[in-house]
């Protein structure tokens, strides 16, 4: 990126900051998100501790030790990924707000280019994803050490997968908002897709289209991090989807979300 372009990107990010700084919903959702990240991992960890204790270590053979290094990278990433709908939801709100208030028009009228506007929002999605990943890294380290294991970077590739998944959710939310413009409709479709349709399509495709269900949008990123619990049991029951293809499809969808968002914002009537 040239100096000129980076200057404009920084300037546009500071404009974005002015929009968010006093926006309460943003801070509430961020707070809720971090709370959910910590809470969901804490509960899962405690569950593991309690089941271990009650079975007097008998279940440990099946469960493995998911909250100790190196497995803790996968376990915390996996549990945290269930809360990723929140930053995506936040992106839907941030973009449809602009359409609602017609402030996207004002930004363009004041002299921002359409590409700059779209790229700034994409940048926001990237920043949100990176911040989520940093929080997850911190939770991982704290959990791993609490479980009494010593720090190890083995298995930390799951953090990268988590970042890819976060990018999928945030950029997916942004794209959906850009396409639909209406906040209520976008939020409804976003939540229904994430919570229901995604799995339904995936199930139907697996059943009737030769097992390609795992490679659908968002679904492919979900499956990057397989379930860390009962590894021994699941391994013998289910054939996991091809990891390389999951990675390829996930990156493909992230690039597609990015590209369609920019393209759409450049050509639509605002």
């Amino acid at each position: 990126m040239s100096y000129y372009k980076s200057y404009y990107m920084l300037k546009n990010l500071s404009i974005e900051w002015l929009k968010l700084k006093n926006y309460r919903t943003f801070w509430w959702l961020i707070g809720l998100f971090v709370l959910c990240l910590i809470g969901s991992n804490y509960i899962t960890y405690q569950l593991k501790v309690v089941t271990s204790m009650q079975s007097k270590g008998g279940l440990d053979l099946l469960l493995g030790s998911p909250f100790s290094f190196p497995d803790v990278w996968q376990a915390v990433s996996y549990v945290s990924s269930y809360v990723l709908f929140l930053p995506g939801f936040l992106m839907v709100i941030l973009i449809t707000n602009e359409y609602n208030f017609k402030t996207h028009r004002q930004n363009i009228i004041d002299g921002m280019s359409r590409t700059e506007f779209a790229l700034t929002k994409i940048f926001m999605a990237v920043i949100l994803s990176i911040l989520s990943t940093i929080v997850v890294v911190l939770i991982t380290i704290v959990t791993g050490l609490t479980a009494g294991s010593s720090f190890s970077l083995t298995g930390s590739v799951y953090i990268l997968y988590f970042l890819l998944q976060a990018l999928t959710y945030t950029l997916g939310g942004l794209l959906l908002g850009t396409l639909l413009k209406k906040s209520g409709l976008s939020i409804a479709i976003y939540l229904i897709y994430i919570g229901f349709i995604k799995n339904l399509i995936s199930f139907l495709l697996d059943r009737y289209a030769g097992g390609i269900g795992s490679y659908m949008p968002v679904k492919s990123s979900d499956e990057l991090i397989p379930m860390p619990f009962f590894k021994q049991v699941t391994k013998s029951l289910i054939t996991p989807p091809d990891g390389t293809w999951l990675l390829i499809m996930t990156i493909f969808f992230i690039v597609a979300f990015y590209w369609i968002t920019v393209k759409r914002f450049k050509t639509q009537d605002l």
């Binding site: 300037k11 002015l18 006093n22 208030f101 017609k102 009228i109 004041d110 921002m112």
Partner: protein, 297 residues
């Protein structure tokens, strides 16, 4: 240096089957107050939306401030399009801070602008608490940020009370005196007549006419004449210099003529010399409304 601030060439735009704008071209000279006049839904806002890059034209081009870089030109243009668009949860000041940052204008300019539109006392109030008139004034304030060379104002007096309307009109005239150019869309005839130097009339997306207000709205002079013998009067009138046509109206005759080539005294004298004594002789400048109806029907 060119004296054209905005040049529009063959702009067309349709929404599905509706042709909102059809091959519209005109030029706005520097320093003019250019009224874009037309009934609601005639395509005024569509046209202004295109030149501010909010809407995409199907075909045609435009040049803002003679610059090939539309973004840079927009930063030097103050625009109020349709409705005031601001973040409801931010204060007036913070909303203008965002506009100022995008335009590359110092935040020092915000207070003077708020003062000018009478909102300085409410600068820390949230936009959502403003009345329609205050919102409109804030939008005009945003348009004034950075001392723009060109202002594009779409129905600027919308939602304002009579006092506010008068203030805005004075403000617009003042801007023109400072050498700025104003493009103003309106469906209000008398607003255009009171403020504008130039006018373009749009109907159903088509440009019907454009030019200086003098050219468009009073292309010829209309003189009302009365005499005892109207028949004889009508016989001799075609002999007057600059005659174009006459029409009968109740008890008088309306003479359309170019007073640049004749004068009221000359007409009076001509009639007298031809044996008609006038009982009434008055100049009736074609009223804007009559002219507007004539053009749009």
């Amino acid at each position: 240096m060119s004296t054209t601030v905005l040049s529009i060439q063959h702009l067309s735009k349709s929404y599905g089957a509706l042709q909102a704008l059809s091959d519209v071209s005109f030029e706005v000279p520097k320093g003019s107050i250019y009224g874009v006049l037309g009934p609601n839904g005639s395509g005024k806002t569509t046209m202004l939306g295109i030149i501010t890059d909010v809407l995409r034209p199907d075909s045609g081009q435009y040049t803002l401030l003679n610059s090939p870089d539309h973004e840079q030109a927009r930063k030097k243009t103050g625009t109020l399009l349709e409705t005031p668009n601001f973040y409801p949860y931010l204060s007036a000041y913070k909303n203008l801070e965002i506009s100022a940052l995008i335009k590359g204008v110092s935040t020092m300019e915000i207070d003077p602008v708020l003062e000018r539109v009478g909102l300085l006392a409410r600068k820390n109030s949230k936009f959502s608490t403003f009345s329609l008139g205050m919102k409109q004034r804030l939008a005009i304030g945003a348009a004034l940020l950075g001392n723009p060379e060109l202002l594009i104002l779409d129905e600027p007096t919308n939602g304002l009370d009579p006092n506010g309307i008068a203030e805005i009109r004075n403000l617009i005239k003042g801007l023109a005196v400072e050498g700025r150019t104003v493009v103003m869309a309106s469906h209000l005839l008398d607003e255009v007549e009171k403020v504008c130097t130039h006018v373009a009339i749009i109907k159903n997306g088509k440009l019907l006419t454009s030019g200086s207000v003098g050219e468009v709205l009073a292309s010829e002079d209309v003189i009302a004449l009365r005499s005892v013998d109207l028949k004889k009067l009508s016989d001799i009138l075609p002999g007057i210099a600059g005659f174009s046509k006459l029409e009968w109206q109740n008890e008088q005759i309306l003479l359309h003529a170019d007073l640049g080539r004749s004068s009221l005294e000359a007409i009076n004298q001509y009639c007298f010399e031809n044996g008609v004594i006038l009982t009434h002789l008055a100049l009736q400048r074609a009223s804007l409304e009559a002219r507007f109806l004539e053009i749009t029907h």
